[in-house]
Symmetry: C2
């Protein structure tokens, strides 16, 4: 388990997401998994099936965070270009992996096409992560993990590598306030300046009968979160507090 | 109405999205609106409340597409930094807009704070789009439209500028196929090469009783979409076709 907080980015690949033909569910899934693992997600990029765009995005994000997860564009058809783009992002050649070719030949038998065999092509130097739960291994190149777009497969493959990313958990507290956000802004600005390690968020709601602003406090340091929570509750004033979680 | 296809990008701003505290709904909303308007959405970036990251992202995308829409980070608190970041992306100063200051003073009366007045700060040279439906105008700087994160307000503000982006509609056809994707891949590769103006997508489904692959054809040229649809139906073979829409 890592003591420092690992950082991550997600690249969602596919024209079908940007054109609204399919609503992405892998992004929300990975957001939840990374949060539960204690990983700090820094950015999500949703990009089309364009070789240069995918390669540029992977290059940019792989240099910026500890781990990048791509979703989509893995398969036998003309719009499945993630593997080539990830290889290009690291200046690698594509090679046909014998163990994958063998598995594909066994699985498809007489129906095997050249298109199927494209699924045995991997960037040179990629790691193939095998696990009892999956037939096709999960592919890693440098700090980039390549996940499929089909939600069931994305979840199965992420499960094979999940424990690699586990770090100390985040601690969250929430203050629900019945006041205009502008009236509690100064107190939050002061608290944020005094406690930079605690992320303070302020989220107003329209037409919510119970509260008008949800204030969130989050950090890996539970003690510090509790200190800031007490400070803010006092600063806001008891009459404005609906509840504290 | 524009004859060429305008391009767009979306920047979703907020720690609460990346940390999973809030699920973004403005992205899916804008995807649907832009598609209906005939706008080609090229990228979505989800970024945290970090000044440099927002400014860099806006700079990068504003240079790449016709229109950028930001969502979130507009308000009176310390984590509302979108306006400053968009100003910085274009090297503009922040100025206090008298008409907004007046409106805020009228609205908040005796409760007005300095934090409220931050909502009157705009980048120099920004356009303020007024409309009967909204109290606070929608802000545009160059090709960037700044929308709020609160879903109801995001929708209200987008409505004030929507007709600026209307272009020729997209035409979509879909072929539902009962065959392994690898067996129809070559036909799609050939059709895509012969008709580059039609976007051909191939989307396999697991455990779907009705079909195994959905093939989508999309273009602004309805005639061309129909031609490619007929070609692919013939190439796949009638026995593999479940239905065509």
């Amino acid at each position: 388990m890592s003591a420092r907080t690992p950082t991550a980015a997600i690249v969602i690949i596919g024209n079908e997401i940007l054109s609204g033909k399919t609503q992405d569910t892998n992004g929300p899934y990975l957001i939840g998994e990374l949060k539960a693992l204690g990983v700090d997600l820094r950015e999500i990029a949703v990009v089309p099936d364009i070789h240069e765009t995918i390669a540029e995005t992977v290059t940019r994000l792989a240099a910026k965070v500890d781990f990048v997860f791509t979703s989509g564009g893995v398969g036998p058809t003309h719009d499945d270009i993630t593997i080539e783009a990830v290889a290009r992002a690291f200046g690698r050649r594509i090679v046909r992996e014998p163990s994958l070719e063998k598995a594909l030949r066994w699985f498809y038998q007489d129906h095997l096409t050249d298109a199927h065999l494209r699924m045995a092509d991997v960037p040179e130097g990629a790691e193939l992560v095998y696990d009892d739960g999956i037939k096709i291994p999960t592919l890693r190149l440098e700090n980039v993990y390549v996940l499929p777009g089909i939600p069931e497969l994305c979840r199965m493959k992420f499960a094979t590598v999940r424990e690699r990313f586990r770090a100390l958990p985040f601690h969250l507290r929430q203050i629900f306030v019945d006041a205009d956000e502008g009236l509690i802004a100064d107190a939050m600005t002061r608290a944020q300046a005094a406690h930079p390690s605690v992320a303070i968020g302020s989220y107003p709601r329209l037409s919510n009968a119970e509260y008008r602003v949800k204030v969130t406090l989050e950090s890996k340091d539970k003690g510090e979160v509790d200190v800031v929570c007490d400070e803010l509750v006092r600063a806001f004033g008891a009459e404005k507090i609906v509840r504290v979680e």
